[in-house]
Symmetry: C2
Subunit: 293 residues, 2 copies
């Protein structure tokens, strides 16, 4: 399967499963708000990473689906909360009204809260996972999502506004804010397969770290080079918010050079375990720096 087919098939399978969930809700409004953001057409990069990592570990079953759904719920909840007026105060996300604009602030807070809970609920309740797998996946995902991962990064990000960061501080921030969840995607994929490959886990940790940075640097680049229409949110919004970015620190050519470097590091980590740039994970690394939104 080529990369585009793989991404499309992953999106379709994931969204079919997401559509089928949340039956018999106690609150129709809450469910509608959760689904609104969950099915709001993301690239589904993290689910694709879960699946590609599981495949690389030798698991070609549907085992990737549950951890991919859980991870995507965590990712989407974080977007819903990040968009809130008290946080980034964004009106648009992927070209559509953000959750609190479509519904209201209270609903967006609760929908985000419930999406986070549901992520752990589906891992704990999945028939396809044994007790050890379910527990390890929950451990990895909660570490990546919590105070010493994604949420910690978001807090540091908010405190960093209108401050000048060094490159090293910016890297630390993004290692938490976006990197932790990307690394978790790879770990969850490897955890689909038993026995666990320690070699793969450690190579994927390096691959994930580089991929996460490449992803963030590319986001920063797209913020100044892509149109509002293609981005689905206002061009230059980081600039407007006076945020430290790779572009503001290194200039556009410097940022582009950094993205290429991280791309090379990611491919290098794959090479250590005998994988080349043409594998799905290699192609995903290339996709991450070449995407247009």
């Amino acid at each position: 399967m080529n990369l585009n087919d793989f991404l499309r098939d992953t999106r379709q399978q994931l969204e079919n499963r997401l559509l089928a969930s949340f039956d018999a809700p106690k609150s129709e409004r809450l469910r509608t708000a959760m689904r609104y953001s969950l099915l709001n057409g993301g690239k589904r990069l993290r689910p694709a990473l879960v699946r590609a990592a599981a495949l690389a570990a030798g698991n070609d079953t549907q085992d990737w689906l549950i951890p991919a759904m859980a991870l995507e719920m965590i990712h989407v909840y974080s977007l819903v909360h990040d968009d809130l007026p008290a946080m980034d105060n964004d009106d648009l996300r992927r070209g559509k009204a953000t959750n609190h604009k479509e519904f209201d602030e209270a609903t967006a807070i609760l929908a985000g809260d419930a999406l986070q809970t549901e992520a752990f609920a589906i891992l704990a309740g999945a028939d396809s996972l044994n007790d050890r797998q379910a527990r390890q996946m929950i451990a990895q995902l909660s570490q990546a999502a919590g105070a010493n991962g994604m949420v910690g990064g978001q807090m540091i990000d908010l405190q960093s506004e209108q401050k000048t960061l060094t490159l090293s501080q910016l890297e630390k921030l993004h290692a938490l804010k976006t990197g932790a969840l990307i690394q978790a995607a790879l770990q969850l994929g490897v955890l689909c397969q038993s026995p666990l490959s320690g070699t793969l886990l450690s190579a994927f940790e390096r691959y994930g770290r580089a991929l996460g940075l490449a992803f963030q640097i590319t986001d920063d680049i797209l913020d100044v080079t892509a149109s509002t229409e293609v981005l689905g949110k206002p061009q230059g919004s980081d600039l407007a918010a006076d945020k430290a970015t790779y572009v503001s620190l290194l200039g556009l050519p410097g940022a582009q050079q950094q993205a290429v470097q991280q791309h090379q590091l990611a491919l290098g980590a794959l090479a250590e375990v005998g994988m080349d740039a043409q594998t799905l994970l290699g192609q995903l690394a290339t996709y991450v720096i070449q995407r247009d939104h």
Copy 2:
């Protein structure tokens, strides 16, 4: 141990463990905000229920501590988010500034988010739990906390403001909003002990349902009978927000009668498994309707 000693000892053990957690935080501000609400002097009723249920199931070890901490983190995160301006907009909680008043809204949102994550992280990471226990506790807690439990109840509560509810609608609302977590406390306690006692689980489900209602009815009564000083929040705040309560539906004497009825139902469920009103769970049921705040 009498009830007061039991409650005090439970509080102390729980708070000692909470104080020792969150080492080496990535964001000092986030940790400070999480600890601020987590150590803000609650009654710790839910942890006491976990411990009393574990004891009743025959487990007198410290196994109750991890699930009690997890449950309290879920409870506290929900309070932090409920107090936000977009939700109940409360300035005071237990006589102190609410989280967003002490810090700011963004910090309160993130502290709540991270507390929820941490609840699942400590269950997944606890050495004292085997894989099956950890997974079952996470399954129970996430079911109780999510869209078909606590958060669903909170959503229904917000949609019910300025509406007249029937008694049955009010009961459904509270079964989700506060009842689900109280029931989870008992389930988590029973799950500390293996093999699992199905008889105990089903009796505690009935006990928990009645206890949760007794708790909520008493809250509604205290809102009109207790002073602002004793409550730690403004007296009559439900009334001011035009909320449907047991007092607004049934009047004060009617609400008091309902609390007594639920108390009797709780004791009756205990009697089915050979426990009397003098056991810790019996005393806790009495404490719930006789407390002054």
